[in-house]
Symmetry: C2
Subunit: 452 residues, 2 copies
């Protein structure tokens, strides 16, 4: 059956499969979802077997299992290694979802569910493409290997060991990852750069317990005020990070490259997608460069004292926050950790104690967009989506790309099918069904393209 | 029966009464405790009737009821107006209590419960003293009026109207309040000054919902970072408040007065009571002056973004905090509100919207400690506790003192029986039983003293 007809005929079943895996709340950041993680890995194993992959197995790690499946047809054709992650972010604040986050709901031809775009909906595209070859065509023109992990949202800390332990199994010519997004429905994109991430938790301790703010206000340091003071010294008001050394290895973006990337993230895009009235950041750099080629620092959560309704007059005993720094290529997580710890130590005000812990980290990635494999991917996306794709520097992090490069020696093509308004990590995450169906078409064609 | 014998014989019953009222979680700051507030007011009404007070009634207000009771014996003796509050602070963090906060538990001759010292345990002392006169002596030498309110912990916002509406009912020569503490078991104290309070909530809004910190980090302002920046500009690192005008009306403490107050709050006291390794604040001023005669500013709670276990990489949509300023006599809450709002407006960084709301406020109070009524109180406390009491500038707030002065034209004697380690507003609040029993003795004697 011809490809488009096949997709049209099978789309109901394809979306039903996706709904099944989306309904499993495989949240890796919350320890009480261990069982869902296991269920999700088992579901994937079964699915891989169903579509005709061989050697399907779930590999134990110190954390969550990695699910593997392959189809090896010949030593004389290229091998592609497809990576994805079946774990998802927490769904909080749940009250802001219009449907329950783990009851996938289709509305306006979009599927709403935590994980729909990040990343279940995206790796399922390539599994559907493999199924097309294996079930419809009865043959696949290249060797294909899938490895889908369950710890991406917690920093993939056990994946490097898995990769070094299974170099032969994972041997390939290219890696392929769909965990990013296009610019619009008719504007495909290929990421050629990703930022790394160093994620910390800070805890500030003052009095041994909450004390009366009248009796001690003015006499002892307040842990929340102290934490705010620390945070205020991490960036200046224009978004420049104040941690010494953090800009040392930042790559200078050339004029041509800057011209290319600046077309693809405008002031208007950011305002529309986030709802802010004005953008923010280092004035000397275009938004696309701030997000793609410069480090950034954000507080993800903060807590301390009394947050209920009404008024409670205490100096709290403790306060804390979660903070990450997105880092650029060449600056390693280890270096950032040292810089950060030493800087926090320097700026800690008197009268409180501060503990800082690296929760997870991942390195940045950069791949020359002029390489033939990137140009091949570009050709396929143009065929399917009607327009030449743009090459982007993404501000997000897919640390596995750097781990694959270092350990398997291969480049990764980052071909995302999401859209900018998919609400990744936020409430009402969604993926457009059309993106999924066109994604399958692109994946099938890219597999063909790789034979060249 | 002689006073001490009476107390010894009746103490079991007195403590049992206290346990009953402490067991009612009359938390005024949390709206879901309205029913407990009502129960507590009813309990008090019944108790006042039981001990023989007349004209007992519960006055409705726009908020929680005020419970009133009196014994009028003659026009030719002085009248004392006893104030107290039956509402309490929330008990969070409940996990840090060694017994449930509303299951009063006696250990080491101390009663542990929310409200034990602030303020149920203290106003119950004066009710027990009235009972001694009415039941044991069959007569009371002065007129006594009790009015016990239920909104002190939320700023007593309906009390000024209650007082102006009931000036004749409340007419008296002196007011008496026990809602403060002594310096140690043998070191009685009388507060002659109290700070006022202006309590605000700040809310900062950025993107319309939580967004991915990789995709937008560096391009939009983060509400938590913005809030931290705002907080960092409220005080400098030494605790000096940066809001223009906040020090304009601060009274200069004279040399003699400074010498008096500085003996009663030492570095070691503060370290011992709060567990901090070092104190903090304006270096030019002694700790006692920082707490008693200078304004202070504290964040009581902060929230925003993801505070669960693990790592979530978002730029949150909102962040907020609760903050109060303790103010000194002559500077009014209204003035502080204007200063604060205008200053916050000035320091709000680009890219976020900030809302500030005054949650409650109360004025400061000051009374010359050389007045005869103060010296009479001092004499009584010396008799009961064995040492001359000290006159203190408290850092806490009892805004009713200023309301009473303005509306009823009378001075308030602040004779507290708590101790510095009572953990007011914190977990494991307690009151020493011995303080309660000696407090009753002091109250009985002070009533006698007022006839002079």
């Amino acid at each position: 059956m011809e490809l488009r007809k096949y997709i049209e005929k099978n789309k109901g079943r394809i979306i039903d499969n996706l709904k099944e895996i989306l309904a499993i709340p495989s949240i890796s950041t919350l320890p009480n979802h261990k069982d869902d993680i296991r269920k999700c890995a088992e579901w994937l194993e079964k699915y891989m077997k169903d579509i005709g992959l061989d050697n399907v197995q779930s590999f134990k790690t110190l954390g969550n299992p990695v699910v593997y499946g392959e189809k090896i047809v010949s030593e004389n054709v290229p091998t592609v290694l497809v990576y994805g992650h079946y774990d998802v972010q927490p769904a909080e604040p749940i009250s802001e979802w219009t449907n329950p986050p783990f009851e996938p709901t289709i509305k306006d031809n979009k599927i709403f569910s935590r994980g729909s775009a990040d990343d279940k909906g995206q790796f399922m595209i390539h599994l559907a493409a493999a199924e097309y070859y294996l079930k419809n065509e009865k043959k696949i023109p290249i060797n294909i290997k899938f490895f889908i992990e369950g710890e991406e949202e917690v920093g993939s800390s056990n994946l490097p060991k898995f990769i070094t332990d299974h170099k032969d199994l994972l041997k390939a010519d290219y890696a392929l990852i769909s965990d990013s997004h296009m610019l619009a429905e008719n504007k495909p994109a290929i990421d050629y750069g990703l930022r790394g991430l160093a994620y910390f938790e800070i805890e500030v301790t003052g009095p041994k317990q909450d004390v009366h703010s009248g009796l001690y206000g003015g006499a002892i340091q307040n842990p929340i005020n102290a934490l705010a003071l620390i945070i205020s010294k991490l960036k200046d008001e224009n978004g420049k990070i104040l941690i010494p050394g953090i800009y040392d290895k930042v790559r200078k973006v050339g004029k041509e490259e800057r011209e290319m990337i600046r077309q693809h993230l405008t002031e208007e895009d950011v305002k529309k997608e986030t709802g802010v009235k004005q953008t923010y950041g280092e004035e000397k750099y275009h938004l696309a460069e701030r997000v793609g080629a410069r480090p950034s620092l954000d507080i993800h959560g903060i807590w301390g004292g009394f947050a209920g309704e009404g008024a409670k007059t205490i100096i709290p005993s403790k306060a804390g926050c979660k903070v990450s720094i997105r880092i650029v290529p060449d600056l390693k997580v280890k270096e950032v950790e040292e810089m950060f710890l030493s800087y926090i130590d320097n700026i800690t005000p008197n009268g409180v104690e501060v503990k800082v812990k690296l929760l997870n980290g991942g390195e940045a990635y950069l791949l020359d967009f002029r390489k033939p494999i990137m140009q091949g991917a570009s050709k396929v996306l143009k065929e399917v989506f009607g327009n030449e794709p743009v090459f982007l520097l993404s501000g997000g992090s897919i640390p596995i790309t750097e781990v694959i490069k270092t350990n398997l020696g291969i480049d990764t093509v980052l071909m995302g099918f999401g859209l900018p308004d998919d609400n990744l990590h936020g409430p009402n995450e969604k993926m457009n069904l059309n993106q999924i169906l066109k994604g399958i078409e692109a994946s099938v064609k890219f597999i063909q393209e790789m034979t060249k």
